[in-house]
Every structure is written in structure tokens, then in C-alpha cells.
């Protein structure tokens, strides 16, 4: 069950070392609620992170970091007061609470609907991945990846392997004193290679991760598969010719190319932008924004996925939220503040980078459901176009709706067949209408391997994406070949 165990563990991990008692927390909350606020919370966090880097065949660097503190928030109408402390002690927290209450000059004590208490099985085990295997095994894992990857091809010049583990423990105290806790493991491994052939160099990179322990990488030989994938991508790009420039049919491969959804529609459907009317999607619930083969959801409740959370950073249980159903815009992603102001229920999307940041509506795992088409059939239907299989990052202007995402592995499609690899190129489109040009949806839904990080207002959070193979009937490809 999500509730008691995680809460007890989170309380133990955060509070025991500090000596802060329940009545101290009550005092801080009482200080907050001495002002006429609509909502208030205290967010305690204790986070440990380690990273190991192998380069030039040696374990070159390792680091370990501890971040802990508490953020205190008060909300009055549309106004938010916020302060935090790196010391989880009574006096700094009382000071923080006093600073926060300044916001509440015109507050009207609200009638906030209590968040429904449900329970379900936990999505990931409340473990400490840093302790999951001895340090010596972490080091030998990196060495083994390096050795095995270098064996793959004589053209490999450089192999860099990095391993990161996070043990993040949070405790959210609501205005009613109710507490919710979560222990969030996260591991990530990345392999990047440089290959050289006749003076030409290229890079390839692959990796993955999940909310589990380091054994994830040795299971099914995943780690070595990342190495093979990085080398494959780099070698493909050695032969790449200039990418085409202009508007054309684009087929996106399954999995990580789902950052299309994240950029083109995901950010534009976050509650804050829509409450303020600053998104190209504002006020468009019930309208057609995609082809009828398209159903898109944001689901923070997928077991062990990088973007998943048992509860969001406001203590609300995560869920599967339908954003677009058969092409019709259905809903937005909400935190508590924006849900209240828009008169809807929070969707478990209130997230924050840390106790030192304010929560806001953020994505979790955003993906499109599979459609009816065989991926092979989709390629065969294209006379001339681009097949994009892997991507770097993306970005969006939520107001104009213009978004980009940059292909790192792409091919020309000629007469229904994949022909030559082309150099990476940025693809640009308009969020509110790109999905209306989706004419075929594959039956091959895949999720990314667990590598995504989303940035918004300077805050980074781990996210996931997924999609089946997609055919888009027109998208601008930013190559150099006119």
C-alpha cells in the first residue's frame, strides 16, 4: 500500500536525524495559518545522489551529494508566498513561515476540497539504490561496459560511461496537518562513444534508467545493449549525408521520438498556462486538436518508470489523465493551485525540482496509445520523406505553439523504403495542428528507455515519453540540402 509504509519510512528517514517532532511541525503550520490563507504546505526533503564516470578506460570521477531542507508555502487566491531552509530545525522553519504569511494580505479563507484519500499498491519499492550493490560492483560494471563496447568496432576512439543513483525521500504536510510520504529511487546509466573513420568523427549515445536499483542494468544485459546501441548510432552517422530542408512527410519511430508529444502538446496542456490563458491550447477543451487516431495520456502511475511518482510533490496521488481522446482535447494537467482556480480536481501533476523550488503543473509519463497500422505499412505508404528514429532534445513556445525537436538519427524514405542516413536536423511545427496531420498510427507503442529530463522555469524533473510509429503528413525539416 502506498500510504502507511512509505509515510512511516519517509518520516523516519527525514525526521529522525533532525530531532524535529510532530508538535514542531504543528507549530510551523499554526504560524502559517495565523494568516488568512487558502492553502499551505510544508515540504520536507532529504536527497542523496551519487555518480560514477568512466573515461579513457579508467574510473575517472565519482561524486556523492546530500541535499536536505524544507520548503514552506502559503497560498492566498492567486498569490503564493514561499521560503525554504537548508536546516530542518524549528527556528528557521518558523522564520520561513513568517516570511510566507506576508502574501496573505487579502486572503479569503478558502474551502479547499480535501484530496480524496485512495490507496493502491506502490509503484516502486522504497529502496536506497546507492546501497543496492557494493561500490566495487558499480566500478566493475562500468569497466565491463567499457571493455565490451570497445570490442565492438575498431573505429571506436572514446567510450564514456556514467552511472547515477538517487535516493530521494519526501514528506508533504498539508494545511490540515495530514502527512504524505514517498521514497523515490532513481537510477540512470549512459554510454557515449566517439568513432573515427578517415578523419571523420561522430558521436553516439544511449542509456536508460528506472525507479529501481542498479541491478536493473545487469538484468537482461541492458547495460551492454546501451553500448551496442551507442556504437550503432555513431557508425550510422559516419555515413550520413546532408539532411533535406523543407516541408515533407515525416515518419517518427516508436519510443523516445514521443518527445514530439511532450513538446508539441504536453507543455501547452499544463494547467498554469491554461488558467492564465497564455497557451495556444487555452479554452480549447472539446475541440479537435489531433487526427481521430490520436489518443494521448499523461500517466504518473506506471510501475517503476522514470516519470512515475506514488504521490506528486503536493501529496496528491498520481493518475492516468486523458489529454486527447480520438483527436478531441479532453483535459489539462493540474497542480492544486491551478485546479482550485479553474474549478477542477488536481491530477497529481504538481511537481517541484526540490524543496527550494515552488511546485507547478508538470508532466510525468506522456504517451500516445497504439493505433491500427503495421509500422512496415506506414513506411511503405511514403513516396518521399524522412524517417526519424532518434532524437536529442526539444523546446516549445507555448504561446505561439511553435515547437522543435532535434533528430539525431534519421533516414530518407524513397518509394516506401528507407534508403540513406542523413545528418541530424531540427524539426519544427505548430503544436495545435501538428497532430491533425497524423494520418497513420502504428500498433507498436514503445516507451523511452528512461532518460528524459524536462526543464520549465529553471526547474528540472525526470519525465518519460512514449509513442507508436507515427506518420505526419507535413512537417518542416531543418536540413541544409535545398
Amino acid at each position: 500500500m502506498i500510504s502507511e509504509n512509505s509515510l512511516a519510512l519517509a518520516r523516519d528517514l527525514i525526521m529522525s536525524p533532525t530531532g524535529l517532532a510532530n508538535q514542531d511541525i504543528d507549530r510551523v503550520m499554526a504560524e502559517l495559518l495565523s494568516a488568512p490563507l487558502d492553502d499551505a504546505d510544508i515540504y520536507f526533503q532529504s536527497s542523496r545522489c551519487e555518480s560514477w564516470v568512466l573515461e579513457d578506460g579508467i574510473i575517472k570521477e565519482g561524486s556523492h551529494s546530500i541535499e536536505q531542507g524544507a520548503g514552506v508555502r502559503g497560498v492566498s487566491g492567486e498569490k503564493t508566498g514561499f521560503a525554504y531552509s537548508d536546516d530542518i530545525e524549528l527556528n528557521p522553519l518558523l522564520d520561513a513561515a513568517r516570511n510566507v504569511t506576508r502574501i496573505a494580505r487579502s486572503g479569503s479563507r478558502g474551502t479547499l476540497a480535501p484530496v480524496t484519500s485512495r490507496s493502491r499498491a506502490i509503484l516502486y519499492r522504497p529502496i536506497d539504490p546507492l546501497q543496492s550493490i557494493p561500490d566495487s560492483e558499480k566500478v566493475s560494471l562500468l569497466n565491463r561496459i567499457d571493455r565490451e563496447t570497445r570490442k565492438l568496432d575498431a573505429r571506436i576512439e572514446q567510450v564514456i560511461v556514467s552511472l547515477v543513483g538517487v535516493h530521494d525521500v519526501v514528506l508533504v504536510v498539508g494545511q490540515d496537518g495530514r502527512q504524505a510520504g514517498d521514497v523515490r529511487p532513481l537510477v540512470r546509466l549512459n554510454v557515449s562513444v566517439i568513432v573515427e573513420q578517415n578523419g571523420k568523427r561522430e558521436r553516439g549515445s544511449a542509456g536508460g534508467g528506472a525507479r529501481t536499483d542498479y541491478r536493473y542494468f545487469t538484468d537482461e544485459d541492458r547495460a551492454l545493449e546501451y553500448g551496442r546501441e551507442a556504437v550503432r548510432q555513431a557508425l550510422v552517422n559516419l555515413d550520413a549525408v546532408a539532411a533535406p530542408a523543407g516541408n515533407m512527410v515525416v515518419v517518427l519511430g516508436p519510443g523516445w521520438p514521443g518527445i514530439l508529444l511532450h513538446e508539441a502538446i504536453g507543455h501547452g496542456l499544463e494547467g498554469d498556462f491554461n488558467r492564465k490563458g497564455t497557451s495556444a491550447f487555452s479554452g480549447r477543451i472539446g475541440e479537435r486538436v489531433a487526427g481521430d487516431l490520436c489518443t494521448v495520456v499523461d500517466d504518473g502511475s506506471l510501475p517503476e518508470r522514470r516519470g512515475s511518482l506514488n504521490i506528486d510533490d503536493e501529496g496528491v496521488m498520481t493518475q492516468n489523465t486523458v489529454l486527447i481522446e480520438n483527436g478531441i482535447l479532453k483535459g489539462y494537467m493540474q497542480d492544486k493551485l491551478n485546479a482550485r482556480l479553474m474549478g477542477v480536481q488536481p491530477t497529481g501533476n504538481g511537481r517541484r525540482e526540490s524543496y527550494a523550488h515552488l511546485p507547478m503543473p508538470r508532466m510525468t509519463n506522456t504517451y500516445m496509445l497504439p493505433g491500427p497500422h503495421d509500422p512496415e505499412e506506414i513506411l511503405q505508404s511514403v513516396d518521399k520523406g524522412l524517417f526519424a528514429r532518434n532524437f536529442g532534445g526539444g523546446q516549445v513556445d507555448i504561446t505561439s505553439g511553435k515547437f522543435v525537436f532535434s533528430a539525431s538519427e534519421a533516414y530518407l524514405i524513397e518509394k516506401g523504403k528507407i534508403t540513406r542516413p542523413v545528418k541530424g536536423a531540427t524539426l519544427i511545427g505548430n503544436g495545435p495542428d501538428v497532430l491533425t496531420r497524423v494520418s497513420m498510427v502504428g500498433n507498436d507503442l514503445e516507451f523511452d528507455s528512461g532518460v528524459g529530463t524536462c526543464g520549465k522555469d529553471g526547474q528540472s524533473v525526470p519525465v518519460g515519453v512514449g509513442q507508436p510509429t507515427l506518420k505526419i503528413d507535413g512537417l518542416t525539416v531543418g536540413g541544409t540540402s535545398v
Binding site: G62, H64, D87, T399, V404
Partner: protein
């Protein structure tokens, strides 16, 4: 109310921090490290935003962290913590030592050569605390947003205006006897508004940032510029795919120069993941280009006497007459390359590209017809090959004058060619960042559109 920004650091605090960082070094030695480097930073500040004429958020910032790197011979380990207590110091050092125990001997690892450490510490005038109350901050943010919202009836909505003031205190020490610190401030004002005309909804922003609040642009001016920029974008359309000349506005050009600095950084060079390998002493820009580093500028945002290892920063020409004179190196990357550190662990300090070619208006005249880029989005830069492809928005220019706004286009080329094909550098230098450059005129790029 007269609540002030929460922290004002004094020299006394700096002395205490320098003692604390010595405790870290002593602890490292007592746990067996043969050498160590340590740093502590404390910062505080106030951020206020206003939207639609009213305060929206008030944030009080106060954070602290310590970090330590230990060496056991040529083996290295690093650890950090947000807890500055003596207990945390012991535990952090232990974590770093444990990691070093698993690291491999790296012949190039270690502290800088002692003769490279900074020995002179002139006052760079970086500390100008802003005595700003919460109420004054709110008033300023409201004034800024008001001037944008009331600028024109096509300004229809707002993301708000913000006022930020920050003060930080950092010390750095190593077991070679280096132990120094300084206090610095950073203040900014920003505004972002939306405009609407017909079906076109656009947003743009402006900001001003400075060490000294008296050097900030006025709240009113920041708001007006945000409004002007938003209005300029209304009615934007795409362009057909073409080859054409391009001018990057100053704020976009700093990224372009940033890619160059990335390519001559030691880390990318020794990993052979740069499109500027083996370019030292070679012509990489046209002859009229000079790029130099000015780390000791008074009050500037990138100023520092020493880099993140304590190595003295150097005033130097990185590119003169278009020829690459030097790389951007830390002690480690320099050793890997068989060279000497350039005082750039952590990056460059106040990089300046000398103007060559007049005002932006003169550059537009010289270009005649072409693209003026005012915004770039996405990553799209391959540092190994120099291949460049990014999303863009801006204006189409005819006869040297802005004709209409454009969006949903990409600009692409290869950075090596783009640098060689620079025609002029405008005199409209943007001084808000660590890279100072004016508008950059490039002869020819591929523009893709709908």
C-alpha cells in the same frame, strides 16, 4: 511593511567561511588525503513577481552548500552537502575518500601547479547589496508590468514581471595554501507579455541584469521593450525554403559564440569531440575578428580573479585577426593535451567579440534582403561535427528594412563555415551575459520553412 531582502553579508562572514573551509581541508588531511580542494557558498535573496497588476509570488531564498575534492596520490573523489555542520563536514569528506578508493590512478589528476594559482586579488567591485523591501519590490514589478500592458491595446495578457535580488558569498581553498573568497550581488528585472491580433497570439520578454541595482534599466523601459518585442511578432508567418544571408541579433549571437567556446574547451578537445580539433594557430574566423577575455572588468557579470580551481584568470586574446591563439583549459584538460592551464576551469570570464561593421541598422542595410533572427529554440548543435540546425523566429528584411515577422522556420549550416562566413559584427553589444557580442551578420545559411 519594511521587510528587507533577508541577507546582507559582511566581510566578517567571509572570514568565518574561510575558517570553515580550512576545517574541511584539515578533515581531508586527517582522513588520509594527500591533497584536497574545498569550497563553501552561501547565498540569499528575494524574488517577487507581479501579474495583472497584483503581486503573484514572493520567494525568500537562502541556501548553502559545501563541496570537497580529495586526492590520494592521483586518485580522486568528490562530495558535497547542503549541511555545513561539523558532523556533515566529516561525513562529506568520508564520502569523497570512499569514492577516491575506487577511482583509478589518473596520471593527469591533481591540484593546479602552485605557480598558476592567483596571487593578486584586486577588488572587482562585484558587491552592491540592494536595500530593497518586499513592498518596494512589488511596486517595481507592478510598474514594469503596467508599462508593458498599457503600451498598446494589442497587448492582451501577461506572464508577469519579476524583480530578483541575490547576494552570495563563496570561498575556495586548497591544500597548496590557497584560501580566498568574495561577496557578489546580482539583481534583475524582467517582464513577459502576450499580444493578440486576429488569430495570432505571441509572447516575448525583456530583462535587465546587473551587479549594481543602479545600473539596471528602468522598470518602465523593461516593460516597454517587452511590449515592443511582442507586438513586433504579431502576424508572423513562415518562409519558403531558401538560402539567404542571416543576421543574429546580439542576444542570439552570444549562443553562436558560445558554441565556439564549447568547441575549444579542453574537455571536448582531449575527448576529440570537437569540430575545432587541431585549429590552434589557424584561421577560423575572417581577419577582422578579435575575441578576447577580460576577467578583471569592474562590476561585470563574468568577472573573477581566479577560476574554479584558484588559478589566476588571464586577460588575453583567444582569437586575433581571425586566428585561434589559445584554447579554454583547466589544469586537468591542459595536462591531457600537454599544455598549460589558461585559467578557465569552470569557463570563460567576460568574453568580448570586438565590433566590426557599424550599428545593427547599418548591418541590415548592408544585407539588403535576408533574415534577422531574434529567437532560437531547441538544441540542434553537434559539437563533434559542427552541424547546426535550430528553430528560429525573427523578421524578413527587404532593402535593409524590416518587412514582416517570421516564425516556424529553421536555420542550418555548419559552424565552421558559419564562422568563416561572418561579414560583420555590430556595435550593439549585449552586456547582460558572460559573452558580449553585437549582432552577427553571416553571408549565407539554409532557411527551411513551410
Amino acid at each position: 511593511m519594511t521587510n528587507k531582502a533577508p541577507l546582507l553579508f559582511q566581510d566578517q562572514g567571509l572570514l568565518q567561511l574561510r575558517e570553515r573551509v580550512d576545517e574541511l581541508l584539515r578533515e581531508a588531511r586527517s582522513q588520509g588525503a594527500s591533497a584536497a580542494e574545498a569550497g563553501i557558498g552561501i547565498e540569499g535573496g528575494l524574488s517577487v513577481t507581479a501579474r495583472l497588476g497584483e503581486v503573484e509570488t514572493i520567494e525568500n531564498h537562502k541556501s548553502q552548500s559545501l563541496g570537497v575534492t580529495v586526492y590520494f596520490g592521483r586518485r580522486k573523489g568528490t562530495a558535497s552537502s547542503t549541511d555545513l555542520s561539523s558532523k556533515a563536514i566529516r561525513e562529506t569528506v568520508t564520502s569523497a575518500c570512499t569514492i577516491a578508493g575506487y577511482a583509478t590512478e589518473d596520471p593527469h589528476a591533481g591540484l593546479p601547479e602552485p605557480d598558476q594559482l592567483a596571487t593578486e586579488f584586486p577588488d572587482l567591485d562585484l558587491n552592491h547589496a540592494w536595500d530593497l523591501g518586499v513592498d518596494e519590490a512589488i511596486e517595481l514589478a507592478v510598474e514594469c508590468e503596467d508599462s508593458a500592458r498599457h503600451y498598446h491595446s494589442d497587448i492582451t495578457n501577461s506572464e508577469g514581471a519579476g524583480v530578483d535580488t541575490h547576494q552570495g558569498m563563496r570561498v575556495l581553498a586548497n591544500s597548496l595554501g590557497f584560501n580566498h573568497g568574495y561577496i557578489s550581488t546580482r539583481h534583475s528585472l524582467s517582464c513577459s507579455v502576450l499580444g493578440q491580433r486576429g488569430n495570432s497570439m505571441q509572447r516575448d520578454y525583456w530583462y535587465t541584469v546587473s551587479r549594481d541595482s543602479r545600473d539596471l534599466e528602468s522598470a518602465r523601459r523593461v516593460g516597454e521593450k517587452a511590449a515592443e518585442r511582442t507586438l513586433g511578432r504579431l502576424g508572423a508567418r513562415t518562409l519558403s525554403t531558401r538560402q539567404c544571408p542571416v543576421i543574429y541579433t546580439a542576444e542570439c549571437a552570444s549562443g553562436l559564440i558560445g558554441h565556439f567556446i564549447g568547441a575549444i574547451r579542453g574537455g571536448n578537445l582531449y575527448r576529440k569531440s570537437s569540430f575545432m580539433l587541431d585549429c590552434l594557430g589557424k584561421q577560423v574566423f575572417p581577419e577582422f575578428i578579435r575575441i578576447h577575455e577580460q576577467p578583471l572588468l569592474s562590476k561585470a557579470l563574468g568577472s573573477s580573479n581566479y577560476d574554479s580551481e584558484g588559478v589566476r584568470c588571464r586577460t588575453r586574446d583567444i582569437v586575433s585577426e581571425g586566428v585561434l591563439n589559445g584554447y579554454v583549459l583547466s589544469s586537468y584538460s591542459a595536462r591531457k593535451l600537454g599544455m598549460q592551464t589558461t585559467g578557465n576551469a569552470g569557463g570563460v570570464h567576460n568574453l568580448m567579440v570586438e565590433p566590426a561593421g557599424g550599428s545593427q541598422a547599418q548591418l541590415l542595410q548592408q544585407m539588403g534582403a535576408g533574415l534577422l533572427i531574434t529567437e532560437l529554440i531547441g538544441q540542434g548543435v553537434n559539437t563533434v561535427t559542427g552541424d547546426y540546425s535550430r528553430g528560429a523566429a525573427g523578421y524578413w528584411v527587404e532593402d535593409g528594412e524590416i518587412a514582416f515577422p517570421v516564425e516556424e522556420i529553421t536555420v542550418a549550416g555548419n559552424l565552421r563555415d558559419m564562422y568563416r562566413n561572418i561579414v560583420a559584427i555590430g556595435s550593439d553589444m549585449d552586456v547582460r551575459g558572460n559573452i558580449r557580442v553585437g549582432s552577427v551578420f553571416i553571408e549565407d545559411m539554409t532557411v527551411a520553412g513551410g
